[in-house]
């Protein structure tokens, strides 16, 4: 005898555990530990390994105190009870307490409900493709648990419950897809909740010597770019990120106060159209090629003086934007005095050797442009070495890089070059961002990884405006054409290196990345606009939410019809009684010969009576009645037997 109640408790607890595990890394560890401990305790109690305390007032009081303490703990650690992260933590703690005090089957139902809410929290935290099978498993388990909780008689084995819920969920898939495509969605939020609590990744608005090299061995994608049309040449793939305009001798920073009215630009050449899908960074910085024709989205902002694109909120989940960029521009106004002052400021006492060299070279040059070229040539010809490990830097980082160690990474060279420009009174700043990327031939898009992080400079040249000059390109020209891993293969961690160098695995990786990108673009980012686009594909010229409603209603109706027909088959329809019908047919025929069969008369008795009226038919009718009795009251009649009987009745001539 299976303990049916125990089965229900165990099913609910297991679903809870699964949903808690989904939140690994997305909720505070102590909450997860409490939830898992409570679940384990519950399993041990149900399994008879531990004894549950009796529900006494004291125990209840203790539970109340623990509840209050945990709520306070959550409130303290998040400084709020509002918001997604705090709500998730609260849900975890409450689910744990429910498990501790659970006794009844209804409690099991509540536990499964909490598990589904935790699943919701997990989906809000991450929507990546790799998690989807896990989400589906939890949904499946929850549905099976619902069946087990509802089954009071123990007629449903866990396996049967799993099978049943799998079938129900499979039948629900078409509806889920129809709803997903056509259920009217609304732009915007009804309520906003704080998110956060994650660390920042990627580039920041600060660059010290060595901060870029830290990113160089990170294999994680920073963003993906799908070009509308041909991809520009590799050497033009400078994705601009934070523009750093203040230097203290060691570190370049972005200072908000250094704001001025930017020069007016004329866009040159054909625009490049592309879509960027940015991984979350928890920072507001966005990336684009050179100069944007316009701000891609309303929740984004472009600083007019340095064309720096940023989001109004830190990017906490994967997001996309369509951008249009011009790779070449020309300034038609000159830099304002304020701008010139901001862009040439330097700490006076730092890097004296570089400063002196810059002054000297400027004095020997006819123009700013010539000076810029000369410094670039100096960078090329003075034995500078491109390396990830440039060694220690001092407060005079530029002097160290250029004269002492003569080693540096892109950040060092950009920093030094911009500093020398400024020292000679030429406006310049450092731009951080990403250079190049890895083409995914499967998905047809560019993967830009953290390791592609780069730093270069922009120099104001009268007549052309802000001009990109990348000193790294003269120190290590191959960096432009190849990814960092081809240049410095030792950078990669062993596993990634293996992946990178094995053609088959590399292809598989691209395949997987392509699937993820498809998922991101087609499913995760499917929104109200995509819905209307879909309707346009169906030939509706100016679709609105009413068309969506109609499409949704049609899909729902079709699905319900399909479900009713599928499930009704073999159950609702009572199978026509062919044997009885044939016999009735025979008695109607025989009614011409003898008085009709009475209700109490059995088939054999009736046949005898008819035989008395028509002795010539007696034998045949007796055989027919015997056959009927055999079919009707014997074991399962075969299809052939019934057909033969029907034939005989048809052939009966009176």
């Amino acid at each position: 005898m299976v303990n049916v109640a125990a089965r229900s408790h165990i099913a609910a607890t297991l679903v809870f555990i699964a949903s808690v595990l989904l939140l690994y890394g997305k909720a505070p560890a102590w909450c997860l530990v409490i939830a898992l401990a409570a679940a384990t305790w519950r399993l041990l109690v149900v399994g008879g390994r531990l004894k549950a305390p009796k529900t006494r007032t004291g125990v209840r009081f203790l539970l109340g105190v623990v509840t209050a303490m945990l709520v306070i703990a959550v409130a303290i650690s998040f400084r709020t009870l509002n918001g997604l992260a705090a709500g998730t933590a609260l849900l975890l703690v409450m689910g744990a307490l429910k498990l501790v005090e659970a006794r009844l089957r209804r409690d099991d139902g509540i536990v499964v409900g909490v598990a589904l809410f935790l699943l919701l929290a997990a989906t809000l935290a991450t929507q990546s493709l790799v998690n989807v099978p896990l989400y589906l498993l939890v949904v499946w388990g929850a549905c099976a648990a619902i069946a087990i909780i509802a089954d009071r008689g123990g007629a449903l084995s866990p396996r049967a419950a799993l099978r049943l819920s799998a079938r129900a969920l499979a039948m629900a898939i078409p509806l889920a897809i129809a709803c997903f495509l056509f259920f009217p969605r609304f732009g915007g939020q009804f309520w906003a909740m704080q998110r956060g609590g994650q660390g920042t990744t990627g580039l920041s608005d600060e660059m010290s010597p060595g901060s870029i090299s830290k990113l160089a061995n990170e294999y994680d994608p920073a963003f993906r770019v799908r070009f509308d049309g041909d991809m520009p040449p590799r050497a033009a793939l400078y994705f601009r990120g934070p523009v750093l305009n203040a230097f203290d001798g060691l570190t370049w920073r972005r200072e908000r106060s250094k704001y001025y009215t930017g020069p007016q630009l004329v866009m040159l050449g054909e625009p490049v159209r592309y879509r960027v899908t940015l991984e979350p960074t928890n920072q507001p910085w966005l990336f684009s090629l050179d100069t944007l024709a316009r701000v891609p989205r309303r929740d984004m902002f472009m600083a007019p003086h340095d064309r720096q694109l940023s989001a109004s909120e830190p990017v906490t989940s994967t997001m996309s934007y369509d951008a249009v960029s011009h790779l070449a521009t020309r300034a038609v106004t000159s830099l304002s005095d304020l701008g010139r002052r901001h862009e040439t400021t330097l700490p006076l006492e730092r890097n004296p050797r570089a400063r002196a060299l810059a002054m000297q070279m400027r004095a020997q040059s006819a123009s700013d442009a010539e000076f810029a070229r000369a410094v670039l040539a100096w960078f090329r010809d003075n034995g500078l070495e491109y390396t990830l490990e440039p060694g220690v830097t001092t407060v005079d980082s530029v002097d160290t890089t250029l004269f002492d160690s003569k080693r540096g990474f892109c950040g060092h060279f950009a920093s030094s070059y911009a500093m020398m420009m400024r020292a000679a009174g030429v406006p310049a700043h450092v731009v951080t961002g990403y250079l190049g990327g890895e083409w995914n031939p499967v998905g047809g898009y560019l993967i830009v990884r953290q390791s592609d992080a780069h730093a270069w400079t922009e120099v104001w040249l009268e007549g052309s405006g802000w001009t990109r000059i990348d000193p790294t390109a003269v120190v290590a020209p191959e960096r432009l054409e190849r990814g960092i891993f081809d240049l410095l293969p030792d950078l990669l961690p062993a596993t990634s290196s293996f992946l990178h160098n094995n053609a088959f695995l590399f292809h598989l990786e691209h395949l997987w990345d392509g699937a993820n990108q498809w998922w991101q673009e087609r499913v995760v980012e499917f929104n109200a606009h995509s819905q209307l686009d879909l309707l346009r594909k169906f030939g509706i010229d100016s679709p609105d939410w009413r068309h969506l409603g109609w499409a949704f209603a049609a899909g729902l109706t079709a699905w319900i019809a399909w479900v009713s027909l599928t499930l009704r088959r073999g159950v609702a329809r009572v199978k026509p009684d062919r044997i009885g019908r044939a016999w009735l047919h025979a008695t109607r025929k025989l009614a011409r010969v003898a008085p009709p069969r009475t209700a109490a008369e059995g088939p054999m008795a009736y046949a005898r009576r008819v035989g008395e009226h028509r002795p010539d038919l007696a034998e045949r009718i007796s055989a027919l009645a015997t056959r009927y009795a055999t079919l009707r009251f014997g074991r399962d009649a075969s299809h052939q037997d019934i057909a033969a009987f029907e034939r005989e009745v048809r052939n009966l001539a009176v």
């Binding site: 069946a147 499930l567 159950v571 329809r573």
Partner: protein, 311 residues
Amino acid sequence: MAAWARRRQGDDQLPVTIATRRVYILPTRAGLAFAALAFVMLAAGLNYANSIALLLTFLLAGFGMIAMHLTHRNLVGVNLRAVASIDAFVGEHGRLLLTLDNAADTARIGLDCEVEGSPRAAVDVPARGSARADVSLSLQRRGRLAVDRIKLSTAFPFGLFRAWTYVHLQASLLAWPVPRGRREAPPETASGGSATALHRAGDEEWAGLREFRSGDSPRQVAWGAYARGRGLLVKTYQSPAAHQRTFDFATVPGEVEQRLEQLSAWIVAAHARGERYGLRLAGHSVSPDGGNEHRARCLNGLALHGTPDPW
């Protein structure tokens, strides 16, 4: 609801096959909670424009609707073939035995049968098979307990919906008076000597073996014969002048109910001893006899005493 269903459906005659149009369905409390959960998930998914949350929400919503269809289908097509009743004394539980057939290829699990005032009796009907539901009904008052409506329902498999149907049938249970009373039974009187009795009372003679009938005491079974493989046989005796009693309502003092209870006690005692007894009530009488059917007839008479019901 029930009255409306009755007007709508009319009276039924056995056997009743549960057709679609007589099955009603509503969400249970668990179902409402599930719907609320799905709604919250929907709101969150729309609010955060979170496609995966929405996808899972729609999947769960579809699951809920499938659950509704599955519950509905678990009831539709069930055939109520027979209803039998088992009477009992007041204060005990009478029983209604419902025989259910399932012509479908899938088992019907968790069919709950109930009548007004009874708890639900759950029964599983196997595929292409039958099963009997045992509805027990507490008997509070002497007399006939009329049952005119049987409710068949199910929440299988997910408990999110309950589908139910009413079958309008005339069935009834009799509540016999509680056997209670300390009065001496009326004395035995001699009568014609051809009757057989099961109990040996000294001067009776061996009258041979007969087949076991339900209700016979194990003490009277001829175990020796059983051991020899002759089946279950019962020893019977014949008294030259078998003793019998007649319990007469008129001779018992007291109030009506007390008198009926006393008669009930005498009948029960006489039956237990295997005696022959008769019953005389105002306007009716049962001639002396023995056995289960006789006992039931006498007790039924007591149960219906003073009611307009026919015996």
